[in-house]
């Protein structure tokens, strides 16, 4: 590979040594500070696995039960730790099984490096056994990808991979290594990548834009902040909190922004979006200045763009220039690293309080509480609700747990009601909505934050998409807590069928297996709860458990998640029932 295009700096191991490409892969990972990877072996990656055996004391490999599980575990690890997750697989089916996780990481900006084995160079293009064009397949869903066909290119390719995955707006990178390159010997030395001439990870901040933003914020009567995961990725949680407090601005989060600001913060007004809170959605169309920070105006957040915040002047703090004006026309775009731009903004912002404006949020909250929240969290009916389970978990963990949710009704309920005291606590598949994400992601999350409680909230549908990862939990003894909220339906789809398809429940009813027996088969302590009186005790037992624990809660079958903005409707049309 050309080196005038990359800036590489020598790390400790200066002296070059003659080693195989496979060993070089491991040494590169170690140079990047990686001590844990997820993967699954197979023919085309076997030389690397052979080296993993030799280096097993320095580099821990977790054998998942499916390559998709390896990617989600790497994602969960990355999301809680802020480090790059690593997943490895063989060629062909191993590589294609990574694609869902890669696409998920791409749309949710998760730093991940995937390493795949490939058939030997001389067989490329011959439809050899287990040959797939994984570079071609993964191109649209990777931040970068590269095929290595000779050993000498491995260090530069991996150095670039890690640099690209974690810098700027993070994302997944795939490095495909032909088997001959793994066997070849060459003189190894490692240089970390610190720059690529065609790649500008962070746009340079324009102080004039920051000043413009400050002036607009200072003149606003009803300013409103909507923040996203960019705040977490940019490590700007403190700056966000200071801004909100200093200028007295009410704030709401996107799904992925949750936990960037403690849930209980008095100016944290809740969540925006399709199943977000009533006030944050409605008042988007009442504010005079909308300050978007590290978020990308996803359609699930905005609803109909023609009726979204048309009255407001829009300020967008963003690292990715391609996001500016992509969906919502901005008045002031503040490009750059959000920590840096907010730090510049803070001294320019006047202290303020917007009490009457904040009261509007509280009034809307009171309406939502009465119509929705009360019934979700403290139901008067006999059957258990998803909301009360989350509420009990909040009580028991105090809001200190990492909550990993899958996709569906339980996810929206978890995001709506889980209490988060600290950042990087909400791990969910936001942009792609990948069912099957939570169980493997919880494994990665626990390994990435071993001192924290990690609770996975999963539906009975999604659970069965990656249920095989119970094997990984059993083998690694990773103490994750698994809660399946069982409604015997693909609940979210059923809800849409009820609301928009006259209750024609086509293929959404699930005839489920005995989940307790399955968990027990993996020697994971398990309990099923069907009545309210058992719930507290079961959650206590689960949280108190030192090892993994499986809790199935049988909930009301046909509950719906509200508020709801039907697809294509305006944020002003947020329905409470």
């Amino acid at each position: 590979m050309e080196t005038l295009k990359e800036k590489l700096v020598e790390t400790e191991s200066k002296a070059s040594i003659k080693i195989s490409g496979a060993e070089a892969v491991i040494r590169c990972l170690l140079e990047e500070g990686v001590d844990l990877i997820y993967g699954y072996p197979g023919g085309a990656i076997m030389p690397v696995y052979d080296e993993l055996y030799k280096f097993r004391d320095q580099l821990h490999h977790v054998l998942t039960r499916h390559e998709q599980g390896a990617t989600h575990a790497a994602q969960g690890y990355a999301r809680v730790s802020g480090r790059v997750g690593v997943a490895m697989a063989t060629s062909g089916p191993g590589a294609t099984n990574l694609v869902t996780g890669i696409a998920d990481a791409q749309i949710d900006s998760t730093p991940m490096v995937c390493i795949t084995g490939q058939v030997p160079r001389h067989l490329l293009g011959t439809d050899a056994f287990q040959e797939t064009d994984i570079i071609g397949i993964s191109t649209p869903v990777t931040k970068w990808s590269y095929q290595v066909t000779k050993a000498a290119d491995i260090p530069t390719a991996l150095a670039k991979a890690f640099y690209i995955a974690r810098s700027g707006r993070p994302g997944p990178v795939l490095i495909d290594i032909t088997k001959n390159a793994q066997f070849e010997e060459f003189d190894f030395s490692y240089k970390k990548c610190t720059g690529i001439r065609s790649y500008k990870p962070k746009p340079v901040m324009d102080p004039a834009k920051v000043e413009e933003a400050a002036a607009l914020i200072n003149s606003a009567k009803k300013p409103y902040i909507v923040f996203g995961q960019g705040v977490i990725l940019g490590k700007a949680e403190e700056e966000l909190k200071t801004l909100i407090e200093k200028a007295g601005i009410p704030a709401a989060s996107t799904v992925l922004g949750l936990s960037a600001l403690p849930t209980e913060h008095p100016l944290h007004m809740g969540m925006v979006g399709m199943h977000g809170n009533y006030g944050p959605n409605l008042l988007t169309n009442e504010c005079d200045v909308l300050i978007a920070i590290g978020m990308r105006f996803d359609d699930r957040v905005t609803g109909d763009l023609n009726t979204y915040a048309k009255q407001a002047r829009v300020i967008h703090f963003e690292i990715d220039p391609a996001e500016v004006d992509k969906n919502v026309k901005t008045d002031v775009a503040v490009l750059g690293d959000v920590k840096e731009t907010l730090q510049h903004l803070l001294p320019l912002v006047k202290e303020n309080k917007h009490e009457a404006w904040c009261r509007e949020f509280e009034e809307k909250h009171a309406i939502e509480y009465d119509k929705v929240i009360k019934n979700d969290l403290f139901p008067a009916k006999e059957k258990l609700t998803m909301g009360e389970v989350i509420e009990k978990i909040n009580k028991r963990t105090g809001g200190d747990a990492v909550i990993v949710s899958d996709v569906g009704q339980h996810q929206m309920i978890a995001c709506r009601y889980a209490k988060f005291n600290q950042t990087k606590s909400n791990v969910t598949s936001g942009g792609l909505g990948t069912m099957g994400f939570a169980l493997p992601a919880a494994i990665g999350a626990k390994m990435g934050s071993p001192d924290r409680e990690v609770v996975a909230i999963i539906g009975d549908g999604g659970y069965q998409m990656t249920i095989q990862e119970l094997g990984t939990i059993f083998q690694t003894r990773v103490p994750v807590k698994i809660v399946v909220l069982n409604n015997d339906f693909l609940g979210m789809v059923r809800q849409w069928q009820q609301l928009f398809f006259d209750k024609r429940y086509a293929s959404t009813e699930l005839v489920n297996p005995d989940f307790i027996t399955i968990a027990k088969g993996y020697h994971i302590p398990a309990k099923r709860v069907t009545g309210r009186e058992e719930l507290d005790g079961a959650i206590d037992e689960m949280i108190a458990s030192e090892e993994a624990y499986f809790l199935e809660v049988c909930v009301e079958k046909e509950d719906n998640v509200f508020p709801m903005i039907p697809t294509g409707a305006s944020v002003s049309d947020c329905r409470l029932e």
């Binding site: 050309e2 649209p140 065609s198």
Partner: protein, 174 residues
């Protein structure tokens, strides 16, 4: 309103970039009308020239997505008025006609086309110009019979400056 835009991309010369670039158009269901890749004025830097019809909002977003690609140094878009552009067309015609049909020689002369080669069986005319010019020549030659016809993608330079060398220099000095 849809318009013809010329998108110019300066990039590192990398296998796979072409599919990344075409995927960006594909994902938005925009048809690439022509595409040309070549080395440019800077060593080891490639230049893509892509012509597609879309509205300005779309082309602006596409250029944003293009610039996000790791190997893309810079991307631009221009309207026809903002560029100097040309295409080349080749016409393969039966040799007899060159001698039997006096008219053909006049057509070639009047259209500023060149005869590239004359063989026993056929001769080849080259015409460089705007699309309507090569189209006009096609229409004139068609009645005589065209054995083969091919037209290149558009090549274009912008009237305004593109500061690629400065951009690359910046990296070298950083």
């Amino acid at each position: 309103m849809n318009k013809t835009y010329t998108v110019s991309i300066y990039s590192e010369n990398n296998i796979g970039l072409l599919s990344r670039i075409s995927a960006i158009f594909l994902k938005r269901h925009i048809n690439i009308e022509s595409l040309t890749v070549s080395e440019c004025e800077i060593e080891h830097v490639s230049r893509f020239v892509i012509v597609a019809a879309m509205d300005e909002d779309q082309v602006r977003k596409i250029v944003g997505q293009l610039e996000k690609q790791i190997e893309v140094i810079k991307a631009y878009y221009h309207t026809d008025e903002e560029t100097i552009y040309q295409e080349t067309a080749l016409f393969k015609i039966k040799s007899d006609l060159l001698f039997d049909e006096r008219q053909i020689q006049n057509i070639i002369k009047n259209s500023n086309a060149n005869i590239v080669t004359v063989a026993r069986e056929f001769f080849v005319i080259e015409k460089t110009g705007r699309r309507h010019e090569t189209d006009a020549l096609y229409d004139e030659l068609a009645p005589f019979g065209i054995m083969q016809f091919v037209r290149s993608g558009r090549i274009a330079v912008s009237k305004a400056e593109m500061n690629i060398s400065a951009l690359l220099q910046e990296f070298q000095n950083a």
